[in-house]
Each structure stands twice: as C-alpha cells, then as structure tokens.
C-alpha cells in the first residue's frame, strides 16, 4: 500500500545533541510537510517543500532545518535540541496542482522526540 513512513517512531536525544528524523513516501506526492505537535495541541507547520522549493514558516526557529534529496525522502534536522523541542514530529504529503486550491494531506505515524 502507498504510504508515508517515518523513522524512527521514537527518538531520545540529549540536550544540545543534533538529531535527524526521516520521512519517506511511496505516494509520489510533490509536496512534503513537517509539523510539530505538542500534547493536546494542533499540528504546527514548520516548513514544507513544493517540489524542490523550500518554504519556511516565519516563526520556525533556525534550530530546525530540512533536506529533501529527492521526491520520496525528506529529513528534519534539529541542530541543538532543547527541552522545549520535545514533541511529536509529523511528516505529511499532498499532491498539489498549482497553488490556487488545496488537497488532502496524508500523514505519517510520527516520530516522538524526547530530549533529556
């Protein structure tokens, strides 16, 4: 089945130790998103790629970076995790045609990040 896969599902890192989360998709969607979701809160968009074009949200900290080496893979790098970065990180994809309308997002299962 076509899907969005995230690895690892659980990640523990130390304060200040860089960490990379990965996302892959078999849907061949051209847009990939990274969200941060804290307990009992809505998913908060960090950034997204429209094809190869990177789009950063204005309030995303510089501590968060992303790479998309090809259509199928996208990575979230947290350069120096702080305690406040502990959260669920969700990857999502959508098949977007043009920019005038929106299409459904397909979410991966998420990576739960713990910072010690």
């Amino acid at each position: 089945d076509a899907m969005v896969i995230q690895n690892p599902r659980y990640q523990v890192t130390q304060f200040g130790k860089p960490v990379t989360l990965s996302c892959s998709q078999t849907l061949n969607h051209n847009v990939m998103y990274w969200y941060q979701q804290k307990s009992s809160q809505a998913p908060k968009l960090l950034f997204h790629y429209y094809d190869k074009d990177f789009n950063n949200e204005a309030d995303t900290p510089d501590n968060f970076q992303s790479r998309r080496p090809n259509t199928s893979f996208c990575f979230l790098d947290i350069r120096s995790p702080g305690l406040g970065d502990a959260a669920m990180y969700l990857c999502a994809t959508s098949r977007q045609i043009g920019q005038g309308t929106s299409y459904e997002q397909y979410f991966g299962p998420g990576t739960r990040l713990t910072v010690t």
């Binding site: 009992s40 809160q41 809505a42 998913p43 908060k44 968009l45 997204h48 969700l90 999502a92 977007q96 043009g98 920019q99 005038g100 309308t101 929106s102 299409y103 459904e104 997002q105 397909y106 979410f107 991966g108 299962p109 998420g110």
Partner: protein
C-alpha cells in the same frame, strides 16, 4: 494563515448521544478540511468542503460549510466508542494551499 477558532475543546458524551464541533473564522475561507486523530495516532483526512452552504455526509458524520464560508461544523449522530479522538478543522485562506489547523475538539465517548 490565521488560526480558525474551534469549539468546544473537549466533549464528553454517552455512547449513542450526538456530538458537534464548530469552527469559526473571522475571514472568508477558500476551503475547509476536517481530520480525525485517534489517541496516539496521526491525523487522518476526513473531508474537504469547498462550496458555500455545502453539506456532505459520511455515514453518521455530517459536515457543513457556512453560507458565508466563515464557519463549518462536524456533527456525529449516535456516537460510538470508535469515534473517540480529536477532530481538527483546517482552514485554507484565499490564495494559499496550506491548511492551518484549529486547536481541535477531543471527543470522549463513555460506554
């Protein structure tokens, strides 16, 4: 995009009772999407509403988009324990394709 207001934040119901969650925006929306997130799970797309006054049904779920395209609701008839989860609306404002999620309504169904 401006975050849409979603109420209530939590709703407890007895199994078999109805449930409604509401989303309200101060601006006219292009579209609105609804997602369900089960406890410990990830958001799953339910539906997208595009037209003014649109009403769509999925079994026991009824989705409405207001005439002015500034509000939307999700109504569940005769809730079941499988309906437990958080329901998010996500607004799409004019000229954008990026949904902005509301705070969500957590539905707790008591058997």
């Amino acid at each position: 995009g401006q975050q849409v207001m979603q109420i209530p934040q939590y709703q407890h119901v007895q199994e078999g009772e109805d449930f409604t969650t509401y989303c309200n925006s101060s601006t006219t929306l292009s579209n609105i999407q609804w997602y369900k997130q089960r406890p410990g799970g990830h958001p799953v797309f339910l539906i997208q509403l595009v037209k003014s006054g649109e009403v769509k049904k999925q079994k026991r779920l009824t989705f409405q988009f207001g005439e002015a395209k500034k509000n939307s609701s999700l109504h569940i008839t005769a809730t079941q324990t499988t309906d437990v989860g958080t329901y998010f609306c996500a607004e799409i404002s004019g000229g954008s394709y990026i949904p902005t999620f509301g705070r969500g309504t957590s539905l707790i169904v008591h058997p």
